[in-house]
Amino acid sequence: MAQMGLVQFSGHQHLRLRLVLSILSGKAVRIDKIRPDDKNPGLRDFEISLLRLLEKVTNGTVIEISVTGTAFLLKPGIISGGPLTHDCPLSRSIGYFLEPIVMLAPFAKKSFQLTLRGITTDDQDLSADLFRTGTLPHLQLFGISDGLELRIKKRGAPPAGGGEVQFLCPIVKQVKTLNFVEPGKIKRIRGVAHAVRVNPQFSNRMIEASRSILNRYIPDIYLYSDVYKGEESGKSPGYALSLLAESTTSALYCAEAISQPGVAPEDIALRAARALLTEIEKGGCVDRQHQQLVLLMMVLGSEDVSRCRMGVPTPRTIQFLRDIRSFFGTSFKIVSADPSDEDCSQLLYSCYGTGYVNANRTVA
């Protein structure tokens, strides 16, 4: 048996994306020095849970964790998909687990029907709402659309959680090549305000407040108030506002704000609206939250040049670009989107796809 390429990393940062790249590229990954100097060294419970989830969605994955938990080796198997359920720990929200799954799901053997239980919205990760309205449309850019769905069955606010989402994703043979350089202009703004186990009036108040900022720009603003009751509203009280702006070329910008103790819903709404404006101001065709997803799908495209215009890379994106190179050997060409304009902060990312074909897919 041929020795498979092994990629080594140190540190706990960027763990999820490295695992995703490892599974997609088929190269084994070894990560060591995971919080070696911490009072509580080694992998955290959510990271262990993530590894377990990845073991569940794949077939033949071997995970070896060292005794101290500060190092582990992952030999990836194939992505199997199918109906699955996973209970997420309360230390991180569902978004933490959903993010790598979204990257893997289109390349599985069977279409994904993953049920995740835990916290649906918190201030660390993308909420289930933004996943539904923001992340999934990004997958549609790459031809992954039919049957792509995220159902929020129950909402669960921190700290006790109790939410449940179901993620359905079709499989594809190959993702489409992206050529997205026209950011367009914002034509509509949508949003979801939800409140669980609190006064349902809170969501209306949030909507009012955010409209006070956004109304000046365009009239096409619909903010939905989404109230869950009883069993479906989870175990803890909480509320949040997630906003989504869409441009004429269907570029999406999203932002959200989560309830905090002692802060009025109006302030939360203002914060969300201003965060959205920040994203819009950064421009590009993809907002900062989805840079990695889009870049990954560009790399996995057919052997053609794909281009995308985006803002300045976030630190995570920079590391991700480096990781992509160590796993796939692909580098991006990154130039200013508008060479004639010196102030233009937007960049044009172009790469030559690896021609990644879903080898897991069964024919006939």
Binding site: I334, D341, V363
Partner: protein
């Protein structure tokens, strides 16, 4: 010259008067003649045309091969031995290059047209070669001996082609001159054509070549063939269109000679292969597979100058290929052409004898140079040493050159060379050939016999490698540690002549590029190799950056070739700092402390892709003007901040959002003229765009609603256009980094850890294919395929028998399990492949993408009788585990029977086993169904079972279960290229074969012996019905028992007394009967005698006939023997075996 008048045109042969007449006759398409006669017919005709149009369409496929500089088309010449492959190859090469090759080996590349090159390769009669050639050939010239007919190898090859995507095939019939009779010739042609057409497709091209003239086929026939080759169009094949690959036309061993010597030639080699990239872009970081050798990592890839370049722009103007360009030929393994370009050297092969004074050889520049070098009488060093320079006129001693060390060195080397000279007389020529000391031996030695010997060495490279090591090269190697990385400079490559690359030869000097590449690739792993260069380079770059007053970052460099953390990249840390950091990294212990502290800081950072804007960022949006500043980003917004013309412009073209233009205009407001010019330009561009759109719509209103096919085609071409343009302005090395090496480029691939046998046993007549692997294909797993035993393969295939697969690039042996889908419930194992039906097969091996075709063989050796392709199929699924079950029946017997309950034994061994099967369905042979209830304690493994009816003690009870099995993890690549005799590869053998080979008897189990089955006669007791019951039965049901009659019957009791007439009559009858009997007996006797006579006669006849047949057979055999003898004479012992289909 100029004032000489041009020759007048020849007058046309057809008379002008005739032209008028011709009009009436009007040749060609006569529209009226084909006009439909009725409306119905018109309708049908129209429909048919539309259907035909649709039939012509193929699924639009992207062709990854660039149109501008495509790689040469691979034309493979395939056929059984003695059919004339080499002759055809020579004829074709002569047709294209006007050169006659004496000894063709390996691929031969020629320029055939302005935009087309051809690589000819001859395929030998080895199945491994046929498989490899079938995977790479673009066009196959399939040669058939018409005097003999189609042979088994031809059919095997066609089946291999079919499994791996069918390339274009042209049939070539040869030996037509051997058929003397015109009628036979015609019939043969017809029948062969028919057979050929059924194999390929109706109307496949078939060429006829008559006899050989001057060792070539007739020029006119070859010309025709070459015309057909030149207009051939190729449709991309799916597998080749998704994999990069290369047909190596040259292979060199770069292993340091010393290493080879020390290991007695057994060390792993560093090897470079050269060839044109085909298929898709070849990228670094992927693995390659060389069929017959194995998977390998590419150490480096570099583009070399094209050894067989297409005509360039100046000759482009001509319609035809110029005569000069026609002479280009590239065939390194056959060693023609003379000059060879390596990465950093040029090899000149001098034709003819290499002794001085030999004037009949044409002397070019290269030859002259080498001759001049030979003229030197002593080395420069020797010259200097001999010259006696005195510093002062008065000093008595002249200066000595060279330190003590140097002397030692040279002494040592001389010693070494001396000793080697003793053992190897051919050493002198080696010493000459070494580029560094080419002035060493001024005496032209007798061994320098020029071409012949040199060619040998070029081919049998490894032979030279074992013992002949030029001493000085060695020394140099040890002294220069900086050259450790690229050892090829100091390595002696046979008896060729090396020149430092100068301007005289147009060699693309790849050195800087390579270094840059290395630098980028190995940025943090090993900087030790060329640290100083690295630093210098960086410093320059940093300076360039800082001098470039722009603040703009070079993101690619910052991300990919710096060691900065992402945060530092964003905060705009300088490059210069980075280099300092790196230095620290190398030799400073303090740096570690720093990283630790940094890591502790990072502890707070969480792994989250959500970007949470800080409060300060959000505060920005409190003011009104901040809010207004992004109004332009919304559809309702207009550019307010500019005013004047800008606003108008924005409003006018609100349909076209042009963000960049707006932004671009902003800073240039200080320069109003500039701004105006810009505006004007933008306006003009806009107008242009509108005009174009209008024109398009006006000219072709149908264009907007193009059909699916054209739409797809347009999309593909647009994407290809983008691919070409996107990286046009990027430097070559960055481009290689980003998109890899394009198809059509001539590259040199360095492979490390190549098994030494590949070099030691290298044979240029076996093709070396370098196939790139996709990421998925490097992995291993269980591959499920749909498989069908080939209908010409005589045996069936058995589960767990090893089978050789040719799948993807690879050839390997694995152990498949055959199975069938049992009503979508389970995958059920089959012991044997079904007849005339597909089945599934699952085996362990390298992953291939679903829908890849394959073919399988039981053996690859040549002397197998019959058809060797045993199965073909396609990959369906790839997984890490399989679920195949085989049926298992557990049997038991009842030992106690109650009504519907029975106690069963002998099915299980323990109560535990029974517990596992509680509730399982069981059945008797007679079909009574039942269930396992509960285990019994007393006899181990007995259980209680209930049935739907009472079972008998004689019933056998069985339980049907499914046992899951896994294919064996066996993968054995066919390493045929590593063998000395490449046709003798032997994989895992079957047990029977091993026993046969080793002479071991099959162990005989006593239980398995065949014995006579003794079945005791079954005795059935008579049915006894109790008297009481009988009495109670109704009359109809009462058994009717009758005793045999005791008394005499009435008739028996009577005595018969006959009357005299009666008695007479009876006597007469008796006599007649007796007579008759006698008559019959006599007749019978007579008949049998006659029959015997007839039999004898027949036998005699038969004997006579058989005598005749024997005679005739003898005659035929004599004829065959004569023919084979003649053939053998012609072929000189080539291909002793020939199998008639």
């Amino acid at each position: 010259m100029e004032d000489r008048p041009h020759k007048a045109h020849r007058p046309s042969k057809t008379d002008k008067k005739d032209k008028g007449k011709g009009k009436e006759k009007q040749h060609g398409f006569n529209e009226k003649a084909f006009a439909p006669k009725s409306g119905r017919r018109a309708d049908r005709q129209g429909r048919r045309n539309v259907e035909r149009d649709q039939q012509r369409l193929h699924v639009p496929l992207v062709n990854r091969t660039p149109d501008s500089e495509p790689p040469p088309v691979i034309v493979a010449i395939v056929g059984p031995p003695g059919v004339g492959k080499t002759t055809l190859l020579k004829s074709l090469v002569r047709r294209y290059t006007k050169q006659t090759l004496n000894d063709v080996k390996g691929p031969v590349t020629v320029v055939s047209a302005k935009k087309r090159r051809l690589t000819f390769i001859e395929c030998n009669n080895n199945l491994n070669s046929m498989i490899d050639i079938g995977k790479i050939a673009d066009l196959v010239l399939l040669m058939i001996d018409a005097s003999f007919g189609l042979e088994m190898e031809t059919f095997e090859f066609l089946n291999i082609l079919q499994a791996h995507g069918f390339p274009k095939v042209i049939g070539v019939l040869t030996h037509l001159d051997l058929i003397k009779k015109a009628d036979t010739l015609k019939a043969t042609k017809k029948s062969l054509k028919k057979r050929f057409w059924t194999e390929i497709y109706q109307g496949a091209k078939l060429f006829y070549l008559s006899g050989v003239l001057n060792g070539r086929y007739p020029d006119t026939e070859i010309l025709n063939l070459s015309r057909f080759i030149s207009v051939m169009k190729f449709r991309p094949l799916v597998f080749r269109n998704s994999h990069p690959y290369l047909l190596a036309d040259r292979i060199e061993d770069l292993t340091p000679r010393e290493q080879v010597r020390l290991s007695k030639g057994k060390c792993d080699r560093t090897v470079t292969v050269y060839g044109y990239i085909r298929g898709t872009n070849l990228r670094m970081g992927t693995k390659v597979h060389i069929p017959g050798v194995g998977d390998m990592d590419m150490e480096s890839v570099s583009i070399l100058g094209d050894p067989c370049p297409l005509p360039d722009a100046d000759s482009e103007k001509r319609r035809k290929l110029s005569e000069k360009k026609k002479l280009v030929i590239h065939a390194p393994m056959s060693d023609v052409g003379g000059v060879m370009y390596d990465k950093d050297a040029v090899w000149i092969n001098v034709p003819g004898s290499f002794t001085r004074g030999n004037t009949d050889v044409p002397q070019g520049e290269g030859e002259q140079m080498v001759m001049d070098l030979q003229d030197a009488e002593a080395t420069l060093e020797a010259g200097v040493a001999q010259s006696q320079i005195r510093l002062l006129g008065s000093s008595s001693k002249h200066l000595t050159v060279g330190t003590l060390d140097d002397d030692d060195d040279s002494d040592g080397s001389e010693d070494e060379s001396g000793s080697e000279e003793e053992e190897d007389s051919g050493f002198d020529s080696d010493a000459i050939s070494d580029g560094d000391n080419n002035t060493e031996d001024p005496v032209p030695s007798a061994q320098n016999t020029g071409r012949k010997s040199r060619r040998d060495v070029a081919r049998t490279l490894p032979a030279a490698s074992s013992s002949r090591i030029p001493p000085d090269a060695d020394v140099e190697y040890y002294e220069s540690d900086s050259d450790l990385g690229d050892g090829d400079e100091s390595v002696d490559l046979g008896r060729r002549f090396e020149m430092e690359d100068g301007d005289a030869f147009e060699i693309p000097s790849d050195d800087p590029m390579d270094e840059a590449e290395e630098e980028e690739e190995e940025d943090d792993e090993d900087e030790n190799a060329d640290a100083p260069k690295w630093k210098r380079n960086l410093a320059e770059q940093a300076q360039a950056l800082s001098s470039n007053s722009q603040r703009r970052k070079d993101w690619m460099k910052l991300i990919y070739s710096s060691d900065l953390t992402p945060e530092e990249v964003l905060s705009g840390k300088d490059d210069r700092l980075m280099t300092v950091d790196e230095e620290d990294d190398d030799n400073d212990e303090f740096f570690r402390l720093k990283t630790v502290s940094r890591r502790v800081e990072d502890e707070e950072e969480i792994d989250s892709s959500k970007v949470v804007s800080s409060e300060e960022d959000l505060k920005k949006w409190v003011g009104e003007e901040a809010l207004d500043s992004i109004r332009t980003l919304f559809i309702t917004g207009t550019a307010r901040q500019e005013g004047g013309g800008q606003e108008e412009y924005e409003e006018m073209g609100s349909d076209f959002e042009d963000l960049e233009a707006g932004d671009a205009a902003a800073p240039s407001a200080s320069k109003p003229i500039d701004a105006e010019a810009l505006q004007a330009a933008a306006l003009a561009a806009k107008k242009e765009e509108l005009k174009r759109k209008f024109d398009e719509q006006y000219d072709d209103p149908e264009a907007s609603k193009a059909d699916f096919y054209t739409e797809k085609k347009d999309e593909i071409s647009r994407q290809l256009q983008l691919n070409m343009e996107e990286f046009k302005d990027v430097s070559a090395e960055a481009r290689a980094l980003v998109e890899g090496f394009r198809p059509g480029a001539y590259v040199r691939i360095e492979l490390v850890d190549v098994p030494c046998e590949m070099i030691e046993h290298f044979d240029p007549s076996f093709p070396i294919v370098v196939g790139g692997l996709l990421a998925a294909e490097e992995r291993f797993g269980y591959v499920q395929v749909r498989l069908k035993r080939h209908r010409w393969y005589v045996k069936t295939l058995k589960t767990n028998d090893p089978l050789i697969f040719s799948l993807g690039w690879r050839r390997f042996q694995s152990v498949p399990i055959y199975s069938l889908d049992d009503h979508s419930i389970r995958m059920r194992m089959l012991k044997y492949t079904p007849e005339h039906m597909h089945c599934y097969a699952t085996f362990y091996g390298p992953v291939s993408l679903p829908n890849t075709g394959f073919c399988a063989f039981n053996t690859l050796v040549a002397d197998t009788p019959g058809f060797r392709v045993s199965a073909t199929g396609v990959v369906l699924d790839v997984d890490r585990s399989v679920k195949i079950v085989k049926k298992i029946k557990l049997t038991g017997v009842p030992y106690k029977i109650f009504k519907n309950t029975a106690f069963v034994k002998d099915m299980f061994n323990s109560a535990l086993e029974v517990a596992k099967f509680e509730g399982a369905n069981i059945r008797t042979v007679s079909g009574i169904r039942g269930q396992v209830k509960k285990g019994l304690s007393k006899p181990d493994g007995a259980f209680r079972a209930t049935f739907e009816d009472k079972v008998l003690m004689s019933d056998i009870i069985f339980l049907r279960a499914w046992y899951s099995i896994q294919p064996r993890k066996f993968y054995n690549p066919v390493t045929s290229l590593l063998l000395l005799d490449k046709s003798k590869w032997e994989g895992m053998r079957l047990t029977g074969q091993v026993r046969r080979d080793e002479g071991i008897k099959t162990p005989l189990s006593v239980n398995s012996t065949y014995k006579r089955i003794e079945r005791p006669e079954r005795r059935f007791n008579p049915l006894v019905i109790p008297k009481k019951l009988q009495a109670a039965l109704p009359y109809a049901s009462k058994p009717r028992i009758m005793k045999p009659q005791q008394r005499e019957t009435y008739m028996q009791k009577r005595a018969v007394v006959m009357e005299p007439e009666e008695r007479k009559a009876v006597a007469l009858l008796q006599q007649i009967r007796a007579l008759r009997k006698d008559q019959v007996a006599r007749r019978k006797e007579k008949k049998s005698g006659k029959r015997a006579m007839h039999q004898k006669k027949l036998e005699a006849e038969e004997e006579r006939k058989s005598e005749k047949v024997k005679e005739r057979k003898k005659e035929v055999m004599r004829g065959i023997g004569k023919k084979s003898k003649r053939e053998a004479d012609v072929e000189e012992g080539r291909g002793p075996k020939r199998r008639k289909t």
